[in-house]
């Protein structure tokens, strides 16, 4: 496990400073920094890069944990309905017009995430069965999706509607240190909680009965998972909107370099997710696009959909 972590840390240490140089205004690292360039670096590029790292790390780690929990390589953090719950909260902040006031947007998103987490644990009950839990998550996701559509269709002004739709696409444009301070503690705490779930996820490799015979408390594992995914994904959605596919893709890149145990996948997936989102956001900044820049959420979905198809085709080959 230590080797992929070291390699990924090294890659991140290399890419992070380089990413700061790229953008609409390219910064020449050999030239002395002017006041404009230092302003761009300190107030725009650095918080944005750190946000990309946090967002990717949270999504990567929660994707790895989700796949371990559901024992399914096609699982994604979105399945629990926590991301849609957070998005619904954010949409309501636009809808009520509070989004423009200070901390309301992330606060609403976090309340949405917490609401989804609460509903999830309430419905899943005390037994902690994986199937019931997943179905509850899907129900919450579709309910949150329907309510979001309702909010959009009833939006008070066309301006609010366009704001909602743009925000839902997910991006790191025009984010500041404020968002970093929101996302950092939530994401880091979330990853720590997911790491604590590692032993339980390892046991679950053998199925639920064998895992319980190894001393696993399914209820505790479920709570750790809801909390960890809630903190990472809720924090991510609160600052960046919906960014999909990272949690699905990243564990697949990392898994061949580990021994296959879910616990060994969480930290490397966090680092690989950070790297993926950082690079993707950089490309979004650089790619020339009429009328602005490519939204991060769209870019990653464009990457993610063919990847998902590739996974499905491979699965189909294995089933034959």
């Amino acid at each position: 496990m230590t080797r992929p972590i070291t390699l990924l840390l090294a890659a991140l240490a290399l890419v992070l400073p380089l990413s700061l140089l790229a953008g609409r205004v390219w910064i020449d690292p050999t030239a002395p920094l002017g006041p404009e360039a230092s302003l761009i670096l300190a107030e725009l590029r650095l918080p944005r890069a750190l946000l990309a790292v946090l967002l990717g790390a949270g999504l990567g780690a929660s994707g790895a944990a989700m796949q371990g929990y559901l024992r399914n390589p096609l699982a994604d953090p979105g399945l629990f309905g926590i991301a849609p719950g957070a998005a619904l909260g954010a949409v309501l902040s636009f809808w009520t017009g509070w989004a423009s006031t200070g901390w309301a947007l992330p606060a609403f998103a976090l309340i949405g995430a917490a609401g989804a987490m609460f509903l999830l644990t309430l419905i899943a009950g005390r037994q902690g069965g994986v199937v019931l839990f997943t179905l509850a998550g899907m129900m919450i996701a579709s309910l949150a999706g329907a309510l979001m559509s309702l909010a959009i269709s009833l939006s008070p002004t066309p301006f609010a509607m366009s704001e909602i739709v743009t925000w839902l696409m997910g991006a790191l444009t025009d984010r500041s240190w404020r968002e970093v301070w929101i996302a950092a503690p939530l994401t880091l705490a979330g990853i720590a909680v997911l790491q604590m779930a590692g032993r339980g996820l390892d046991a679950l490799t053998l199925g639920e009965a064998a895992a319980r015979s190894l001393g696993l408390d399914p209820r505790r594992l479920q709570l750790l998972l809801v909390l960890g995914v809630g903190l990472t994904v809720g924090g991510g959605v609160a600052v960046a909107g919906i960014v999909g596919f990272v949690g699905l893709m990243v564990p697949h890149f990392v898994r061949p370099f580990t021994d296959g145990r879910p616990s060994r996948l969480i930290l490397p997936s966090a680092l690989a997710g950070a790297l993926l989102v950082l690079v993707a956001d950089c490309l979004c900044r650089i790619l020339p696009l009429a009328g602005g820049e490519l939204r991060l959420g769209i870019a990653l979905s464009l990457l993610g959909a063919p990847f998902f198809l590739h996974l499905l085709l491979r699965l189909r080959r294995e089933l034959v």
Binding site: R199, A203, T205, G207, A209, S213, G215, L216, G260
Partner: protein, 243 residues
């Protein structure tokens, strides 16, 4: 001693009492739906009976910490699952999860389990590349790596050919000889007759017979519980069932 006192599970067990002894191979037999797997799950602490209790060395299982219980009782489910394509060695390492011991201690226990099951050459092979017999041994190695005092296995011989059944039974016998209590749910009555020290026969959730195989699986019991006229052929230890 692993003991069950008047276990009741609605629709499955109707007051089953048992005293199982370490160092023996006990087979639990019975027709489909007799409650064999439910009894094994209760003995493993995975199912809580609605009344009655399971005790391990006179301590109630329900009051034990789940990890302490897991260190004492190894359980192999009927349809073992391995969700990720891990190596045999990694699979065995999962058996160490309840222990929280040092890496060196874990490695020693894992190696001992692999050696006991003739698996060292397969240590780094992915589970997906094993044959059925190798896979059954690897799954048993996972349980043995946890150095349990009791091994509870639900039909460990199903889906294995005769040679692999005998190999696995040999390994289970070796475990019992080292003092472990081995409890197996078995469908094959001839295997139970020839290889168990003791047979427990369940019928409709109650204990129909309990004792040495020659008595517990005597012809009248087969007729009463399974409803078949059958005769044992051959000598003790090499019996075959003629129906």
């Amino acid at each position: 001693m692993l003991a069950a006192e008047a276990l009741v599970l609605p629709g499955r067990l109707r007051g089953v009492s048992l005293n199982l002894r370490a160092g023996e191979v006990t087979a639990i037999c019975g027709p489909n739906g007799a409650g064999k797997s439910s009894l094994l799950s209760c003995l493993a602490g995975l199912l809580a009976p609605t009344s009655g209790a399971v005790t391990l060395d006179d301590a109630p299982l329900a009051a034990m910490h789940p990890e302490a219980r897991a260190r004492a009782l190894g359980y192999l489910p009927q349809t073992p699952e391995v969700a990720w394509d891990v190596s045999v060695e990694t699979l065995a390492s999962l058996g160490r999860l309840p222990w929280r011991t040092s890496a060196a201690e874990d490695a020693a226990a894992i190696n001992a389990a692999l050696e006991a099951l003739d698996l060292p050459t397969f240590a780094h092979r992915p589970v997906s590349q094993l044959s059925g017999g190798e896979r059954a041994r690897a799954l048993l190695a996972r349980v043995l790596a946890g150095t349990p005092r009791w091994l509870l296995a639900d039909e460990p011989l199903a889906n294995l050919d005769l040679a692999h059944q005998l190999t696995l039974l040999g390994h289970l016998r070796a475990c019992a000889e080292q003092g472990m209590g081995v409890v197996l749910v078995l469908h094959d009555l001839a295997l139970a007759m020839n290889h168990a020290d003791r047979v427990v026969v369940l019928d409709h959730g109650t204990l129909a017979a309990d004792g040495p195989p020659e008595l517990a699986l005597a012809e009248p019991v087969l007729e009463q519980v399974w409803g078949v006229h059958a005769r044992w052929l051959g000598e003790p230890g090499g019996r075959a069932l003629a129906v």
